[in-house]
Amino acid sequence: MPLSLSLGLAMALLAVGLHAIAASRRAGCTRQVYGVSLAVCIILLGMALAHLLGGRTPITLTLPIGLPWLGAHFRLDALSAFFLIVVNLGGAVASLFALGYGQHEKTPERVLPFYPAFLAGMNLVLLADDAFTFLFVWEFMSLSSWALVMAHHREPANARAGYLYLVMACFGTLALLLAFGLLAGPDGGYDFAAIRAAQATPGAAALVLALALAGAGSKAGLVPLHVWLPLAHPAAPSHVSALMSGVMTKVAVYGFIRIAFDLLGAPAWWWGGLVLALGGITAVLGVLYALMQHDLKRLLAYHTVENIGIIFIGLGLALAFQANHMYANAALALTAALFHIFNHSLFKSLLFLGTGAVLTATGERDMDRLGGLIHPMPWTALAFLIGAAAISALPPLNGFVSEWLTFQAILASPELPQWPLKFLVPAVGALLALSAALAATCFVKAFGITFLGRPRSPAAAGARETDRYSLVALFVLAVLCLLAGILPGLVVDGLSPVVSVLNGGARLTAQSSQPWLTLVPVVDVKSTYNGLLVLLFMAFSGTGAALLIHRFASAAARRGPAWDCGFPEASPATQYTAGSFAQPIRRVFGSVVFQARERVFMPPPGDLRPARLEVELHDPVWERGYAPIITAVVALSSRFNAFQYLTIRRYLSLVFGALVLLLLGMVLWR
């Protein structure tokens, strides 16, 4: 029953999309589309929650559509229920936000039809239970999100982003297509149940894993396949950016988990090593890229890459543990990864929606033209601050809990017998620690330059607080970030059915029975964390200090000009900017990773030209990985271009020659 209802609701979303094609210009259509999306997402969210927390058995359904001999299979199990929660929570909040934000859209006819379709696509991917349906809805999801990326297609940067996205999405789907082809085997058992029953040979399984990493990883933003993500996610309207970054990347991770943990059978130890290494590199490179940005949305998009890296570190550890039959530790690593998936969907959506509010208020997303927004937009600033602190893994918020669990999983890994893993895991631990610390720097920059200081442009000075719908959406997410941070035991318990499905029945011990809801992941290690008590202690000592000081010492405050060591400078241009804030990091890390060079041009005395500081950055992945491929493709196609302008005689002789060659080949092969 829940499954057919979910499918019906997804169809309803599609119908709303169709309706919006006709009606998008009409007044009130924005409200209708987002209102219906909100309602559908809430129903789906409730249903998925009931399924997961109720501990129900998987439900399957086969519809006589799709390939005639296969039909369309759908299935709702604990894993899809968890991801349905992630998708529909994000979808509901984004729709709520869009009830206000969508009013400012200049071309609603390019957004409204595709938005519900995109939501429906993501939901269907999670429910699909055969390879054909999966790939079909996966591609549907890609294309509908591509249409949303191209919503403001007249900006040249967006057109390029859309093109790159399309190419990478095709590549990803191709890789998944091949992976499913290998999984299905020569008999064509495309049904997931048949794939699960069949055992792939080690060679084929290795190939499938690599293809799944390429396919799902390119959608999720795994380095080096991330290049499209920081261009495409910011190009879409902000609520869609929130969905793409906060939710669609998770659907991609779902694809990887489904293939690697569910369909593929027992892992080999080096799978874990491969995934771990990729995750570690992705985490650090993602945050370093993010630090170099001054476009707020692009910074957030690069930061998604980092978080995907953290998730994949957890998944890689889980694979390594499973390969060595250490299921208790694998449960810890999987819980960490799934918890981080949930967390990231919360705070990344929050941050993108907050950026949307800033964009509405100022029309700017370049941090160097913002500043001081905390004065006109105090509530947006507070919500964004909570999101920034959560994503920087600061206790007592939720980001810290999942990183803490990941660290605990790393600390459980010296028992892994394989030597390469013994060297790899601590190195990945160092990379994870580095990326966590850099993330804090990144978000001090994002929040500090955007919201604090003095306005750097008239647009920032004239900003106004955003509308009610948007504020409610922001605070729903902010409160969830706090709750997941102080009550992590409940989330871990909610995740345990998913972990047990993926992990051969092993799961973490129930956390909700612990005193004070302390998080005790592994009983015999006795490492514990209690976010609730940390929050209470902090609240107690902070407010206690404030009350005592105000009562007994002094409560007087007056305003005056800034002191600034006696040299205050009135111009807001003298403040630190995004680039100058990142300069020390650029000096320390950028000179190696990005070959960053700074050149100062100082005119001689008497010369009236201004002094200039030029920074040169290189993107190593693009320049070493993609640029040669592009050059090769362009060179080859210009070489083959000659074939477009042949005479009919030459074409005929070409065809004749090819035929003779092929026939000769046939004869020789025989």
Partner: protein, 318 residues
Amino acid sequence: MALTADYGVQGCQMLLTLLLAPLLTGFVRTLKARLLRRRGPTPLQPYRDLLKLLRKDVVLADSASWLFRVAPYLIFAAIWVAASLVPTFASGLPFSWTADLIAIVALLGTARFFLALAGLDVGTSFGGIGASREMMIASLAEPAMLMMVFTLSLLAGTTELSAVARFMLNADVGLRVSLALALLALLMVAIAENARIPVDNPATHLELTMVHEAMVLEYSGRHLALIELAASLKLLLYLSLTACIFAPWGMATAGAGPLDYLVGVVAYLAKLATGGLLLALFETSIAKMRVFRVGEFLGAALMLGLLGTLLLFVSRSL
């Protein structure tokens, strides 16, 4: 009854850290002055400064926001909670399981996050320079610290400080290469995190390389008092942490008699005095380094920590 006594001891520890922190700072200052053949202020001077600051009006810059006013309380709360979760004179106190060492490091991160934001809030170039450099230092110091935590936890099998202290009291721990590396990494991080020479100079106000003082330049009155107190608490925290992990001798265990607690307190005071003396000696014997050399300094700490961890991944006996 025993439970109440335990909570009482926990409360004592919280108060003790709070009351001792300014004394430690004053003690180090006096020692440094004496080493430079100056007379210097009494060790009690920080208390007087704090009381004076608390009674003064706050002067807020025109462009300061609500965050600027909230941040000192948040920073103070985060650091005080972190400092009171480090076992000082007794281990295994009732709330010792609230946060392990990773969480304590992260709590310090919370304080730093808000301090850096407060530095950016007024929109002056000094605040910006302080915040950006502080975050650069932290981005290297925090992973180095975590690698040190990894090393410890691989040996002790836990990241909880009370359990680590109990483990280190064990006779069969012995001298280990990995522990030496971890100690070195911890000391280097402690120097950087507390803005001491050679990374930063706690005594300077007008120098372009200053980091911590630049961030808090706009603070005055009670806000400044809280931030100064938090800085003292942080120094105390790092000394207690080093003592708790690498010199846990004399520490009482939970539920012990009053005499044990007394011994624990005396031992703790002796450890703090030793630590303060060593810090003063070190600081007077070395010059400050250029700010961009800090990257290399902390990079070395990170590598030491990683090396310690790697050694333990390879063999538990190293």
